[in-house]
Structures are given as C-alpha cells and as structure tokens.
Symmetry: C2
C-alpha cells in the first residue's frame, strides 16, 4: 500500500452513533422507539438512493423528515409537526461513538489531515460536529450538497479526493457502512471498514483494504503504517 | 386525463407475488423462512439501487444470489451452493397474484396493448411469464438489461415509452411498489398504484393518478375510462 497523507471519514454510523436517535423516539412513542428508529434509518437511506437515481436531490434534513413521516404512517402512529421537528433535530445532536474522540486525538497529534465526507448537508455536518465539541479534529467537511447526489455515486468520492489534495491511493477512506466501504474501494481509495457489529461483508464486488472492530483499532493500524 | 393507448406493468410485487419465495426459504431453513425472505428482498432492492449508483450493473439473477448470500451470512445460516441455486430459482417460478390472470384477460379482451417493464433480466422476465402460463397477455417485455441501470433511473421508463410507441401521457404505468409509482409519475406517465397492503404513500414528492387495492380494481377503473 502507498503512503497515507490524509484520512476521509464517513459521518453517520462511523464517527457518530445513529442508534442514539432511538432514545428520543422511545420518549415520544413509548414501546415503539426501536421499531421507529430502525425503519426510519432504512427509509432514510432508501430515499437518498431513490432520489439520487431519480435525479431529484433534496438535502439530508428534508429526506430525514420525509422518511420519518413515512415511518410513522407505516407504523400507524400519529405525527405532530412539533414531534417531527424535535425527532429530526436528533440527527443534529448525535452522540459520537465512545471510541471516536480518543482515536481522532491520537491521529491529530500525529499530524494526519482529517476530513469528513458525508451525505449530510453542509449545515448538518457542521452542527453535528460543533454540538459534540469535535471541531478541532477536522480540516474540512465535504457535503453532498456540492454535488447534489448521495453516496454511493462516485461524484462525492471524487470531490473529497480533490478537496484532500492528494491522489486517491494516498488517502485512507474510513466507513462503518459496508456499502460505502465497497463503493469507496471501487473508486480507488484504500479503505478501512469499521465493522462495528461484526456483520458480513456486503456482496457488492469489492473488498476493503482492512477490517477493524472500532476506531481505536483503526488508529492503531494507521499509526503503525507511518 | 388523456386517452390510454397501452399499459406498462411492473413485474415483481405487482403481477407476481414475491412473498411466495418465503415458503421455499422455510423448507430449506425451518423457522427462518419469513426472516430470510424479508431481508433477502430488502437487500435485493438495496443492491439494485447501490449498483446503479455505483455504475456497476449486474443482472437481476446475479444481484439476487448476491443478496441471498449476504442475507444468510447476516442471519448466521450456512448456505450450500445447491441451496443458493435452488432458492434463487424461486424467483423464476413466482406465483401470479390471484387477481392478475382474470384482470389481464379482461384487458386483453378489450384490446389494450400490455407490456412489462421490469428490473428482471430478459431471461428472468421471459421465464417467470412462461412458467406461469401468462405469455398470451403481453405484447412486449422491457428489461433493464437493455439500459444497464435499474429502476427508478429514468432510462428504463424512457425505453418502455419508446417500445410502447405512444407518448407517455397516453400510457398507464401500473406498479405495486410505491417508489416505482412515484418515479413513473415524475417521469410523466399517468400512474396506477396497486396498494396491496394498504400502506402509506412514499414521501418522494410525487403522487399517483389513482390508487387501487388490486388488479381487479385497476381493470375496472381502466375499462370505465374507455
């Protein structure tokens, strides 16, 4: 493998825990929190893919609220406008995975430039990072807002490569989403798949460079390379 | 609404019952049939969207087997090559929904040209229709094999319009898949959404022309127009 000059991180599920949304769902709909959070997340991802294929981009906040409305209707739960806003705002206040801050501190101290490339809008990415006090870790945020198509379309990987300012083979791409890891590998990045739940590889015709259980192991692997 | 000169049908879920696969899954993995069939179908659709966005087309048979391998691995079930082939073959022997043959007979007798536009490969569509004895109903099959991108990309709707030989506003598009109905509406077809399970409309910024519970009601509506 070539020398790594920068790291690009996915945000949702990789740096931040999207399951933390389930608690707010449970508060709003006792007994239904887990079911809402699961269908909401699946629908949210489906809508990003469907809208991308339909060439009808809408930003992540819009897609997230649309997915919540569908989810509640599907589960037969009434959704008041105030509740929709309050639950969607949870996606602006995600908790970092506990392994994230210390791992990024070690990489920052080692002088590795770090970027985020996310399906979130510019505003969403900035708020999630600010609200968790992690702005110190990142050099740049790359949002799909600038290409108006969601991952795994190659445009976002290409834009992130350009912003990082190094050839793709010198950039490590880190994601906990198997499909994102596959697409980034096909694009040509060396890829670290953070396989948090120990699940199988997606069957999409591409394998990551390395598989780790969490970001601490990612930082160990990365720093051992240097 | 303009006069309708032809009908284009989606295949999976609309004309043929994809849930019939669950029985074969249950025979192969007692106690797990429903869980396998559900995750398999979701993964199969996800892979069609992901591969389309990644511009890595593989035909429906390939995607279907890939999705089955992922599903069994995810559920911790061993998958022998013979079982993979046998279960995937179920997608070539789907049962028509019971309302399908009589509704299509009425439309055929009324002289309405009928096409199928499907995510299936040319071979798959042809075999599913032949195996169910329904070849008499259709004038043409339109497969994503000819555009190498899956629904809801507009290329397949455009190809189906061209093959039908009428302007899109004179072609009724019939689908039980809400996202497919939305995409066809955005493309410009009048759309009949066959809402078989009484679920909510997908929140994708488009509404169908008419919503019916089954194909019998679709035929009633269509024949009343003429």
């Amino acid at each position: 493998m070539q020398k790594i000059h920068a790291i690009i991180f996915d945000l949702y599920g990789t740096l931040y825990d999207v399951h933390s949304v389930a608690h707010a769902c449970e508060d709003a709909y006792p007994g239904h929190g887990a079911a809402i959070a699961r269908l909401w997340r699946q629908t949210q991802m489906d809508y990003t893919w469907l809208r991308s294929l339909m060439e009808r981009y809408a930003d992540f906040e819009t897609v997230t609220e649309d997915a919540l409305r569908f989810t509640c209707a599907k589960l037969g739960l009434a959704l008041l406008p105030g509740t929709a806003r309050q639950l969607s705002d949870q996606y602006l206040h995600l908790n970092p995975h506990p392994d994230m801050p210390p791992a990024l501190r070690r990489l920052r101290d080692a002088g590795v430039p770090m970027l985020i490339a996310s399906n979130g809008s510019r505003r969403t990415i900035s708020q999630v990072v600010s609200n968790s006090g992690m702005k110190w870790a990142f050099d740049q945020f790359v949002s799909v807002d600038d290409v108006e198509v969601f991952k795994p379309h190659r445009k976002i990987y290409l834009l992130a490569e350009q912003r990082a300012g190094h050839p793709r083979e010198n950039i490590l791409y880190v994601s906990a989403n198997g499909w994102d890891a596959s697409a980034a590998s096909l694009f040509g990045f060396p890829v670290c798949w953070v396989n948090r739940d120990g699940g199988p590889l997606e069957e999409l015709g591409a394998a990551p460079t390395v598989v780790v259980p969490d970001l601490a192991a990612m930082a160990d692997w990365m720093l051992a390379l240097r």
